[in-house]
């Protein structure tokens, strides 16, 4: 990740991450204590083991308070806010994001609501290319089998309906190494091109959602270039705040990440990076307003009257993360270490496994569930998740992983096949008790001879 400075700092000052800074603002004289962290997240519902930071993210109280100040400014005098404050503040956020992700130029950074919106922007651009004859009917778009459902729908809406075809590349799971992913991707892409189709766009996750795994995007982007794929769009919804991000190094044409998942912003805000090139100048925000034609970043900064406050808090978030030892890098390392430790603890307790090696886990890990729970469909997975929420106050998403082959697959210590995985997250507010609560919930289910079949029959 590009260097993050406290936004008030003087560039000429040397800064050592471990040096306790002399306070420029009186209150920030040392790192946050456990108790202060607890207070920052005191609005989280008591009694819930909240181990799903991945889905909706989280936001500390001091950022929420900063957001309310911006909201109040609008309510006090909206015209003044619109004319005199909003554009400068959005530019301020964009500039800090540019540094965060090591982009070359702030014009490459747009702020949008979420990764879903970014996908619509990129795919609508592809849709126009089909309609206006720049792409031919049958030209292809590549996606991963486990792409986020909303992105799949967006591909259907803008590509398939415009006459494009879709190449689906299956990635292995459980997975043991980057090499497995790279070779599967190479094979899948080559197979998809067999009939001579032109591949116009590849959409690759940086961290897949379900099952969650860090994808070696740099290598995959390289393969795309070698295979003649025109453009690559990296859907990195989870990445900022959980793994280092260097967009130049990754080399994609488009890169999107949510900032409300792992970067402590309130719902919702995402960055969309578009590498400067003649092709990217034709991207438009689908909600067309006064700024149409002035470039995507400027278009996205005004899409009609709405609450833009969540987009204005990047400076405050940077201050917040710098109150942790090691700043955002320290947070990322600690989260990663903790989630692996907890994942191993759970796997040991249940006699199961992790879905990927630790180095392929960000701040989330896929932990195999005991086979006797009987997660045998997506419905089972959702039902089990609801059951855990309602009966045990544990919030954790469950993934159903069908076996590739009826005879072969990962087994638990009772030799049953593992087809269910829990995607556990670790963020700064989590404690070991959250995971012990989950461990005990599953132990109780096992003790009671529970199986997902029981939830399905209850529904009928």
């Amino acid at each position: 990740m590009g260097e993050i400075r406290n936004h008030g700092d003087h560039p000429e000052e040397e800064e050592d991450d471990h040096h306790i800074n002399l306070p420029k603002k009186p209150k920030l004289s040392s790192f946050l204590t456990q108790s202060q962290i607890h207070h920052e997240f005191a609005h989280h519902q008591l009694g819930v083991a909240r181990i799903n930071n991945g889905s909706f993210g989280s936001c500390p109280a001091s950022i929420i308070a900063a957001q309310k100040r911006w909201q109040l400014k609008f309510l006090q005098q909206p015209d003044d806010f619109f004319f005199n404050q909003l554009p400068a503040q959005i530019l301020r956020s964009r500039t800090l994001i540019k540094d965060l992700i090591n982009a070359d130029d702030v014009s490459e950074v747009s702020i949008v609501d979420n990764a879903t919106t970014a996908a619509a922007i990129v795919l609508q651009h592809v849709g126009w290319a089909f309609a206006e004859g720049r792409f031919n009917k049958g030209d292809a778009v590549v996606m991963l089998h486990c792409a986020f459902q909303a992105v799949k729908k967006s591909i259907e809406a803008y590509v398939t309906r415009a006459g494009g075809s879709v190449i689906v590349v299956h990635l292995p799971f459980p997975v043991n190494s980057n090499e497995e992913i790279i070779s599967e991707f190479k094979l899948g892409l080559a197979k998809g091109k067999l009939n001579g189709r032109k591949v116009r766009l590849a959409i690759i996750d940086h961290i897949t959602s379900m099952p969650s795994v860090i994808i070696p995007v740099r290598e995959l982007v390289q393969i795309c270039r070698e295979e003649g794929v025109n453009q690559v769009f990296v859907d990195a919804a989870h990445s900022v705040g959980s793994i280092p991000v260097d967009v130049k190094n990754i080399g994609a044409d488009f890169y999107v990440s949510n900032l409300h998942k792992w970067f402590f912003c309130p719902p919702s805000v995402a960055l969309l990076y578009c590498r400067k090139s003649s092709l990217s100048s034709d991207l438009h925000h689908p909600v067309v307003s006064h700024e149409y034609g002035n470039g995507l970043a400027i278009e996205s900064a005004w899409i009609g009257t709405r609450d833009y406050s969540s987009q204005l808090l990047v400076p405050e978030v940077i201050d917040f993360v710098n109150r942790f030892e090691g700043g955002i890098h320290g947070i990322m390392s600690k989260n990663h270490e903790a989630v692996i430790e907890m994942a191993k603890m759970l796997a040991k307790s249940w006699g199961t496994n992790l879905g990927s090696p630790p180095e392929m886990c960000p701040s989330m890990a896929m932990v195999g569930l005991p086979s006797s729970l009987g997660v045998l469909s997506d419905n089972d997975a959702l039902n089990l998740r609801n059951h855990l929420r309602e009966k045990f106050s544990v919030e954790v998403p469950i993934h159903y992983q069908p076996l590739k082959d009826a005879e072969v697959g990962p087994r638990d210590e009772r030799c049953g096949f593992i087809t269910g995985y829990a995607r556990i997250s670790h963020q700064v507010y989590n404690t070991i008790d959250d995971y012990l609560k989950f461990r005990d919930a599953v132990s109780k289910l096992l003790q009671d001879g529970f199986s997902c079949r029981m939830l399905a029959s209850r529904e009928q």
Partner: protein, 439 residues
Amino acid sequence: MSSDNHDRDDESNGATATTDKLSPMDLRSEFSHHDPTVARINNGSFGSCPSSVIEAQQRYQLRFLQQPDDFYYNHLKPSILRSRQAIKTLINAGHVDEISIVDNATTGAAIVLQHVKWCFFQSKFNPGDTAVMLHYAYGAVKKSVEAYVTRAGGHVIEVNMPFPIASDDDIITAFKNALELGKSDNRKVRLAVIDHITSMPSVVIPVKELVKMCRDEGVDCIFVDAAHAIGSIEVDVQEIGADFYTSNLHKWLFCPPSIAFLHCRNPEVPNLHHPVVSHEYGNGIAIESSWIGTRDYSAQLVVPEALEFINRFEGGLDGIRKWNHQKVIEMAEMLVKIWCTNLGTPLDMCSSMAMVGLPACLGIMSDSDALTLRSHLRDCYKVEVPIYYRQPKDGEVDPVTGYARISHQIYNTINDYYRLRDAICNLVSSGFTCKVFQD
């Protein structure tokens, strides 16, 4: 000037908070977050929201932050449905399926115009077929028409109407001519974009008549952009009869930023989708719009609370509309009398806004002058009011080229308009003209 006709009887009976009529003190308290030093006579641009509705919104925001998964799975959908049902009743729609909630009218327009784009793509419409819209259509909507209709092969015809305007007839005639032009050379008029209340200059348009004309002509898609309508004039979508009708609830209906509805007479028409495609794609425009990825939906959930607030005003929404209209006319007439100018429209073509001619000697000669004068009024007099530049016709002597679009909402007091009056008089007496902005 604020509601001094509250009902004291309710209070002395010890009625519960929700049926208590708003006293002047309540009203001041509900809008105490407004900058007290500013004469805020521009409710039209960004609207306003009472603190009790903001508090309701914050309660929803907190629930999401407390347990977002639970909120998403168990509370969000029913809460959005509740808002949609309230809107359906408010606008006399036939069925709740016809009501989608979106961010704002700009988004509503994008949905409709993208639908039109697909009709061109699929050759339901032919290249060169026409789209008719008012010359005074909102800038963002014009851009959207360019982005989706012109780009897809449509040809745009603007309806020129005079301003100042004398009556509905001026508009109806101009519109008729535009439809004729749109049909000429074997073309078909595929889309009509009709404002219910134009933004700048602000005029109430006879939409019912125009929609009927479009129906009689067989226009395929009739879209009413009514951004300002709900809360300032009566809205009955069945009576108006358009295919699509969108209005913002954060302008005149006391909702926080931002929320609008898009009414679709036939929500199942093909190719009608929210442009931000998510999991609900294909489940109908209303359901698609209710989930477009993780974001703060709280502004969309407080329609019932906004209506509760409205019902604390004497006469409810009807009372508020009448009051605002009466007051804005009164203030507009006070100003034209002092400045010796004119209104831009007859009284019955004003909503809760009125176009008040500014003294010609101010020398407003361009859109840029109008914007700079607006900033000047904000910075030097703390008066917030948008200014419209009207290009004079050849031969006009001492033309009125600038109009202030004054708004009246229930928080306004007569003082707000005295301050505008005095600011302008001050500029006039000091010999000010917009020429100074060129230096």
